[in-house]
């Protein structure tokens, strides 16, 4: 049970950290009219859930909870596949 609350704390830190940094970038980007900062803020925000899945997957592997580790790895795979497709769609990276 304390394992679970430890994981909860790590997830909270990942989510809070991702949100805090990306919103700081978005705020600065809006106030200073800098599109580069806005892009960085949005990309970081998009990567925050991915980081959460990575953290959970690592934790499950450490606990040798293989069924749920495989479940989590599948989710990570779907996200990476979406990134891969998106990269292909992007006009800048044909």
């Amino acid at each position: 049970m304390s394992d679970q609350s430890q994981l909860d704390e790590v997830i909270e830190a990942v989510l809070t950290g991702g949100l805090a940094i990306s919103s700081a970038l978005l705020l600065a980007g809006l106030l200073l009219a800098r599109p580069g900062l806005l892009t960085a803020g949005i990309v970081l925000l998009l990567m925050t859930p991915v980081a959460r899945v990575v953290v959970v997957t690592i934790d499950l592997v450490r606990r040798r909870d293989w069924v749920f580790a495989a479940t989590s790895a599948w989710i990570l795979g779907v996200l990476l596949f979406s990134l891969f497709v998106a990269w292909g769609l992007s006009p800048k990276h044909p």
Partner: protein
């Protein structure tokens, strides 16, 4: 963009984030209609901005729910298998629909969920006997001084509704909570608060699965998205805190009424 419209977008984000978190949704349900109907944002750009702000608000609400012990992480993981695939498919499909088709799909989705909420409210889904085994995916829920047990039933229903929720999330810029929460509560034995919290926990991942696609297709308008996200964050955090004080039953009835009204307005726009 003028300072005024950025401020207006910020307020819109804050208001929809607040209401969304209060009702256990991502907030996109109200954000897309507000952006398209009252602010004239093209629907694809509204959907993209909504998806990204949904990631922000769901992540923020998830931190609050984790601390409260309402998130059932194992169940969330299993259902995320379906929501992430759905999100990806919805994101891919979105580029093939016209904007009228998007409006109509949005309206039909909201109306169906409103009807479902109106006619199927009031399931507590808890067992007072603590000796009952919650099973691999079930759990325990504390309400005041009392702890209850709940078991997950009809997993295939939970998985299918999560797949559909994911697809509609990617297609319409919703969190998908509006689909999952009623199904999990009505058919799968999960208490409403746990269903809402676990759904919110999944939404960041679900929305990310399609948001990458919107981003690379150029539908993400930076300033609009940034202003909406910055408003949605404090709004949703406040909503998540207040949601503890709202009665489960009134929560469902408010949700049903609002959904039907918004659906009618969106259908009118897609005619």
């Amino acid at each position: 963009m003028s300072d005024l419209s950025a401020a207006l977008l910020f307020v819109t984000g804050a208001a929809t984030g607040l209401v969304g978190a209060l009702l256990g949704l991502g907030g996109g349900v109200f954000l897309v209609p507000l952006l398209t109907l009252t602010m004239g944002v093209p629907i694809r750009e509204a959907i993209a901005a909504s998806l990204i702000s949904v990631i922000a608000t769901a992540s923020a609400s998830a931190t609050v729910n984790l601390r409260r012990g309402l998130v059932n992480m194992r169940l969330g993981l299993v259902l995320e298998v379906a929501t992430s695939v759905g999100g990806l498919l919805g994101g891919l499909l979105a580029s093939r629909l016209t904007h009228q088709q998007l409006f109509v799909t949005f309206a039909v989705t909201l109306a169906s969920m409103g009807v479902l909420m109106a006619f199927r409210s009031g399931r507590r889904n808890v067992i007072a006997d603590l000796d009952v085994d919650p099973g691999v995916l079930g759990g325990r829920l504390r309400e005041g001084d009392v702890t209850y047990v709940y078991r997950v039933r009809r997993l295939p229903v939970a998985m299918s509704s999560s797949l559909v929720a994911g697809a509609l999330s990617g297609l319409l810029g919703l969190g998908g909570g509006i689909i999952k929460v009623p199904f999990l509560n009505t058919f799968c034995g999960i208490p409403i608060r746990v269903a809402a919290a676990t759904s919110t926990f999944m939404i960041g991942v679900t929305a990310a699965a399609s948001a990458f696609l919107y981003f690379s297709r150029g539908d993400v308008v930076l300033t609009t998205t940034a202003a909406v996200c910055l408003g949605a964050l404090p709004g949703s955090l406040l909503g998540a805190r207040l949601s503890d004080r709202v009665q489960a039953r009134s929560l469902k009835i408010i949700m049903a009424v609002v959904l039907l009204v918004v659906a009618a307005r969106m259908a009118f726009e897609g005619r």
